[in-house]
C-alpha cells in the first residue's frame, strides 16, 4: 500500500443555512478542497450523508454531486454509517488511493438537518439504532446517552459538574472559529441550568445539530516532507443494543479501533498532540477519552482539569458540541480540522507545534467507531 496525504481541504460554516440546498453546501466545500489541492480533477468521489434519504428524500447523491461539480462521468458513490459515515467514507477513499486504484480522490460529507422539524430530527438521530426494539420504545439518541450517563455517575462517583466541563472547554475552543456553529463561551452554570434534554443530560450538554459540508482531496504522498499524511485508519463495530453490552459505560469499538490505529501508526498515546472527539453529548466524549486510553476508567474528566501533562488538546475547534454536528459530514469536519492544525493554519484555534492528530467518530451509540490518525511528514 502507498502512503497517502490529504492535499486539499474545504468546509462551510456549520449553521442553519436556510437559503442553501444539500448540493449547494457540498459544492462549496468540494470546490474549496479541489482548489486547495491545486485544481486536479478527482478520479472518484465518495460522499457521506446520513439524512439525505430521509430528510430530503434524496438517493443517488454520488451522481448528484458529481454532476453539480461539473464532473459527470466521474465514478461516485455514497457511504452511510450513521454519524461515522464521513470518517468511513474518508477511509474508503484512502484505501482507494493507497492501493493504487486512483491517484486523486475527493471525499465529502454533507448534511442539511434544518430542512426537518425537531420531532423528525429526534427520529433521525435514533435511526442508527435498531428500529424494532430500541427506537420502538420512544427513546432518542440523547436518551440512550442519558442511560449511560446515569450509570457512569453512579459507578464512578463523578459529579455532573466535572463531566459538563467538557462542554465548557469546547465552547472556549470554538470562540472565534469562523466555521463553528456556536463560536462563543458558555459557563458551567449556564450549561447546568439549561432544561433537561433527557435526564440527567441538559440541552446544553448535547451536540448542536446543524447544516454543513466538509471535503478533502486525497493523493499519494510525494515524500517531500511537510505533507499531512494519513498515518493510520481503523474501524470497529460493537453489539448494537445497549442491553446486550456487559458494561454500558465503555465502548469496546472505540478501544479496538484506537488500539489498532495507534499500532498502525507506530506511535504511542503520548505522541498525539490533539484529539477531535465524537462528543455527541458530554458523557460520550469523556468515555471516549478513557476508551482510547488517554485517561483511566472513571478518570476521563481529569484531562479537562489539565492534570494529565501528556494529555492531548481536545476538540480544538469546539467539537460536536460547539463547532456543531452536521451528522454525516461530522467525521470529515474532524479530518479537515486536524489537517488545518498540522498545517499551522488553524488561526486562533492553533495548537502550537502540532504534528500528530487523531479523529474519533461514532456511528450509533458506539456500534461503529472509526479512528483516523494524521501526521505531518
Amino acid at each position: 500500500m502507498r502512503r497517502v496525504s490529504i492535499t486539499g481541504v474545504g468546509l462551510t460554516q456549520v449553521s442553519e443555512h436556510w437559503e442553501r440546498s444539500l448540493t449547494d453546501l457540498f459544492v462549496e466545500a468540494a470546490a474549496k478542497a479541489i482548489d486547495d489541492a491545486g485544481g486536479e480533477d478527482p478520479e472518484a468521489i465518495y460522499v457521506s450523508s446520513s439524512g439525505a434519504p430521509f430528510i430530503q428524500r434524496q438517493l443517488n447523491l454520488g451522481a448528484m454531486v458529481a454532476d453539480a461539480l461539473g464532473m459527470a462521468g466521474t465514478p461516485a458513490l455514497t457511504v452511510e454509517a450513521g454519524a461515522a459515515g464521513g470518517a468511513i467514507a474518508l477511509q474508503e477513499g484512502v484505501r482507494a488511493v493507497a492501493s493504487g486504484l486512483y491517484d486523486c480522490v475527493l471525499v465529502g460529507g454533507v448534511e442539511k438537518a434544518s430542512d426537518a422539524s425537531p420531532e423528525e430530527i429526534a427520529g433521525f438521530l435514533s435511526m442508527p439504532e435498531d428500529q424494532e426494539y430500541t427506537a420502538y420504545t420512544g427513546i432518542t439518541n440523547f436518551g440512550l446517552n442519558a442511560l449511560i450517563y446515569r450509570q457512569y455517575l453512579e459507578r464512578f462517583g463523578v459529579r455532573q459538574e466535572e463531566i459538563a466541563m467538557l462542554a465548557v472547554r469546547c465552547h472556549e475552543h470554538a470562540e472565534g472559529c469562523p466555521h463553528a456553529m456556536y463560536p462563543f463561551k458558555l459557563s458551567l452554570e449556564r450549561i447546568l441550568s439549561s432544561p433537561f434534554e433527557a435526564d440527567p443530560i441538559h440541552v446544553l450538554e448535547c451536540s448542536g445539530i446543524g447544516d454543513g459540508a466538509a471535503a478533502v482531496v486525497i493523493q499519494p504522498s510525494r515524500g517531500e516532507g511537510g505533507e499531512v499524511e494519513v498515518a493510520a485508519y481503523s474501524t470497529s463495530t460493537d453489539r448494537v443494543h445497549l442491553t446486550e453490552r456487559p458494561d454500558i459505560t465503555t465502548f469496546e469499538a472505540v478501544k479496538r479501533a484506537s488500539d489498532r490505529a495507534l499500532r498502525m501508526a507506530g506511535i504511542s498515546r503520548r505522541d498525539v498532540d490533539l484529539v477531535e472527539l465524537h462528543d455527541e453529548t458530554t458523557i460520550t466524549g469523556i468515555i471516549s477519552l478513557e476508551d482510547m486510553g488517554f485517561a483511566e476508567r472513571g478518570k476521563g474528566t481529569s484531562l479537562l482539569a489539565g492534570e494529565g501533562i501528556e494529555a492531548p488538546q481536545i476538540n480544538t475547534f469546539g467539537g460536536l458540541k460547539a463547532r456543531g454536528n452536521p451528522v454525516g459530514a461530522t467525521g470529515l469536519y474532524q479530518v479537515v480540522e486536524v489537517t488545518m492544525q498540522l498545517r499551522g493554519e488553524a488561526g486562533r484555534c492553533q495548537v502550537d507545534g502540532a504534528e500528530i492528530g487523531l479523529a474519533e467518530s461514532l456511528g450509533g451509540l458506539g456500534s461503529t467507531c472509526a479512528i483516523t490518525i494524521l501526521r505531518r511528514s
Binding site: A122, S126, E132, T137, T140, L147, E197, D199, T243
Partner: protein, 135 residues
Amino acid sequence: MSVPRYWREIKYRYRLIGERCIRCGSLYYPRRAICPRCGSRELEEYQLRDRGRVISWTVIRNPPKDYEKFAPYVVALVELDDGVRILTQLVDIEPEEVKAGMRVEATFRRIREDGTSGIIEYGYKFRPRIESEKK
C-alpha cells in the same frame, strides 16, 4: 408502518419471546439467528421473565414523531429476573419517583399510532411491581 412489519414482531413484543442458545445457554432479546457468544446457529424460542429491576433510566423531554402525546416519559434499562436486559418505557409512575433497583413488571400498552388511519401499535411497557401480587 406496514402491516407485515408490525405483524411479524407481535409474538415477540406481546409475549416477550426471546431466544436461547441450545449449545451454550445464552439468552437473547430481541431474537437472533446466530449466537454471538458461541457461534451456534441452533437457538430456540424462550419466554422471558416479566419482572425485573431498573438498572438505569432517563426522561424523554423532546420525543420523536408519534410519541409526542406521551411526553415526558421514562425509558429504562431493566434487568429481568433471568438476567436478560430490556429497554422499555416505565409507566404508572412519575419520573421523579423512579429509583435504581426498583422492582418493575411488564404490562401490555399502546405504543404509538400511525396518524388517524394507520395501525395502532401495541406492545410491552413496564410499571412498578404491584405489591398485592407478591403473595
